[in-house]
Symmetry: C2
Subunit: 150 residues, 2 copies
DNA sequence: CTCAATTATTTGTAAATGCAAATAACTGAC
DNA sequence: GTCAGTTATTTGCATTTACAAATAATTGAG
């Protein structure tokens, strides 16, 4: 137990980094990364999302997302199409290969959930998730540099 | 509420990234970063730690830490000294300037704690921390690539 | 004492990241 | 219809990061 253990951001970051690293190691043999999984999961829920939408839901910065999607496109997992309604926007679509990969990733993600939450009962697991949601919302309120006008 | 909201690693990463970004924005004017704060906090607890020790307690990869410490040394916040007992190792010491900066960072870190935990009562806050500790421990058990022998 | 094996740190290098500038397309005022 | 202002995405670039190789020093076997 170090001194940092008292600080929430540290605890959060540390736990998050560990899970992310472990998950990443696990999916690398499939040619996937954690970030790819996020994109695929978001598109699995609703296909044809725009980059901005995807950036929002995955919490991946747009410029990072652009390059991530470049790679996924090269791998044939997704395809960019111009949005019909608004030609500024790009709609991202999963390909059959992307769908197959998604299907293989889902059980891995679920298994990780189990491993991470070992020793938690259902009520505790749910509480943790709710706490994290709340925490995110709290921080969202002051998303610093580009403050809401005022 | 997106589809990813059900997945713990995502919730964790998202909340962690938000706090980290906000904290980073806040301390940038002081010439500090989140990672520097971690190092200073660890050294504040016990000065003269070795790089490896620091890497362990801050969860910053050693090679990353080396370069981070390079920068902190240039800024005059810390000083490397050869460890007396073992000349392979480097002992890091905080300078007076580093101590002054630490003193200014502590209240910021505490304020962030408060902001992040707005709406949490003391019991909930404590629970969250314990959960995050447990989660980290769970993942630690399988720290994948360099598996424990067996 | 000497050498091989181990341990602590740093450096090389490639990939990921994020901000800001550039590009492309839409919108509304006129 | 044209143009200024806005919005969506990409690109440029500098920073951060991590893995692996290189360096430096210790330890124990002989």
């Amino acid at each position: 137990m170090g001194p940092l253990d008292a600080y929430l951001p540290y605890l959060l970051n540390r736990a998050g980094a560990r899970i992310a690293a472990a998950f990443g190691d696990e999916v690398r043999p499939l040619g996937a990364t954690l970030q790819m999984w996020r994109v695929l999961a978001a598109l699995g829920e609703r296909d044809g999302r725009r980059m901005g939408d995807l950036s929002e839901t995955t919490s991946i910065e747009v410029s990072t997302l652009t390059r991530l999607v470049d790679g996924m496109e090269r791998k044939g997992l997704v395809a960019r199409r111009r949005d019909e309604a608004d030609a500024r926007a790009v709609a991202l679509h999963v390909t059959p290969a992307g769908r197959r990969l998604t299907q293989r990733l889902i059980p891995i993600a679920e298994r990780y959930e189990t491993v991470a939450l070992q020793g938690f009962d259902a009520r505790e697991a749910e509480m943790l998730k709710v706490f994290l949601q709340r925490l995110f919302t709290n921080m969202d309120a002051l998303k610093s540099p580009h403050r809401r006008r005022g």
